[in-house]
Assembly symmetry: C2
Homo-oligomer: 263 residues x 2
């Protein structure tokens, strides 16, 4: 992948996040642009952003959905309802590592979704659950469905829709803790040169939104670019979009490293 300016920004933030999350001392660190989130993490100790009995909601498209059983979606911590992707692996580890914390984990990713479709179902699939922590991975369909003529999207529409969704969310749930996951693609399968440099702009928008709302940011594109230096892109996502089991595991590890300090 091209080492664009955005890539470099992501990489710096990635290393910064890792260093701070895994640092051993109790000092509250201060760095430009991420003071609040680091302070919040560190003063809450081992639990990180998770409070006792809190509700954690994963939202997104097919990568998050991962074959989840919708008939069981109202059950927290239900193996079938969590699908078989990165959400399942994260949930299994959180429930094992924090067994006394009473976590309630839900997956409401829907295959094919773009940002505006999250907004359409936000009352049912977000507010009704009253999440304390909300992790969102969205964006690949906003460009993919535009490239294949199914949708008339632009980066500006993506960014504005995303901003409006989070403003609405913060208004309704002021104390919510947000985790924005970077959209990613791998150069194989359905992903060809036509995606670039446009896709990098979608990624930059997700990053910008994360900074505006002062959220945690999970750098999936940087992670996969690094992984592809060792193994072919198709090993991690055969069609360039949907992660394999190995790709899902890598995503889970990076999410956990970014959001908690237990891995």
């Amino acid at each position: 992948m091209k080492d664009s300016k955005n890539d470099k920004v992501s990489r710096r933030d990635f290393i910064r996040t890792y260093t701070l999350v895994t640092a051993a001392s109790g000092t509250v660190l201060s760095l430009n642009g991420c003071n609040n989130r680091i302070t919040a993490q560190r003063t809450q100790g081992r639990k990180g952003i998770f409070s006792k009995d809190c509700t954690i909601l994963f939202q997104g498209d097919s990568i998050t959905d991962a074959g989840r059983n919708r008939g069981r979606e109202n059950n927290a911590n239900d193996s079938a309802a969590l699908g078989k992707g990165y959400v399942y692996i994260i949930a299994a580890q959180l429930l094992a590592d924090r067994s006394s914390d009473g976590l309630n984990i839900y997956n409401r990713g829907n295959s094919g979704n773009k940002v505006f479709q999250l907004a359409d179902r936000w009352d049912k699939d977000c507010f009704s659950l009253k999440p304390d922590v909300l992790s969102i991975l969205i964006g690949v369909n906003d460009i993919w469905h535009t490239l294949n003529g199914k949708y008339d999207g632009t980066v500006e529409k993506y960014e504005n829709d995303y901003r409006a969704l989070l403003e609405r969310t913060k208004q309704k749930l002021p104390k919510i803790k947000l985790v924005i996951c970077e959209p990613f693609v791998l150069r194989c399968g359905a992903v060809n040169e036509k995606w670039f440099p446009e896709f990098d702009r979608y990624r930059a928008s997700a990053k910008k939104i994360s900074q505006e709302f002062n959220t945690l940011f999970v750098p999936f594109q940087f992670m996969f670019d690094k992984a592809c230096k060792e193994t072919s892109p198709a090993y991690w996502a055969a069609d360039g979009v949907h992660p394999t089991m190995a790709g899902a595991s890598l995503m889970a590890q990076t999410w956990l490293k970014t959001v908690t300090n237990t891995v």
Copy 2:
């Protein structure tokens, strides 16, 4: 759980395994009863018991099966074919952490199986795959089906059948690396006082077999007993036998800690 003599033995071995696997120095350690396996692990460095392009086979009963798709069982590293239990979580992490190693991972656990039923299908479900590493978790049905009148089992039969199976395996595949998983139950659901102390004898037999064949041993009972001090048994295995998502994750972590040095 009662802290029996067997529990104490398991705990010592558990701590010993952890200490050695995670030790930082390059020295080959020597301890009674486990010289060979420690030497083998340490001299192979990061890969532990896994050689390049090796085949790893998981065998057992429903706990290993975990809803695997039998129609895809001949595909290595196939998410559906690996089920949704501890095997899936282990496989996902191994494939992510060792992406350059060309691992081939299979699950051939069958619900309801006892040791003699593994033997019945060993040509098809073990030898045909020529595994380099074989992990077995078997035993709970040998006692459960006896308690409920479906089988006429004894500890002696279990131990003799297990020994014969491993002798046959070592004869056919002399270089195979074996991992014996300790059978476990949690005191809830279907598991009541009638299971004890008989079940402890089954566990002791599995341990004895592991020592006779100088295999790695994964101390699942000790692990769950420890976990139950923090959270109720049903949190880890609602019916006392089949792990929840949290239980499966805990098993995967312990398996990986015992067998590799990457966690």
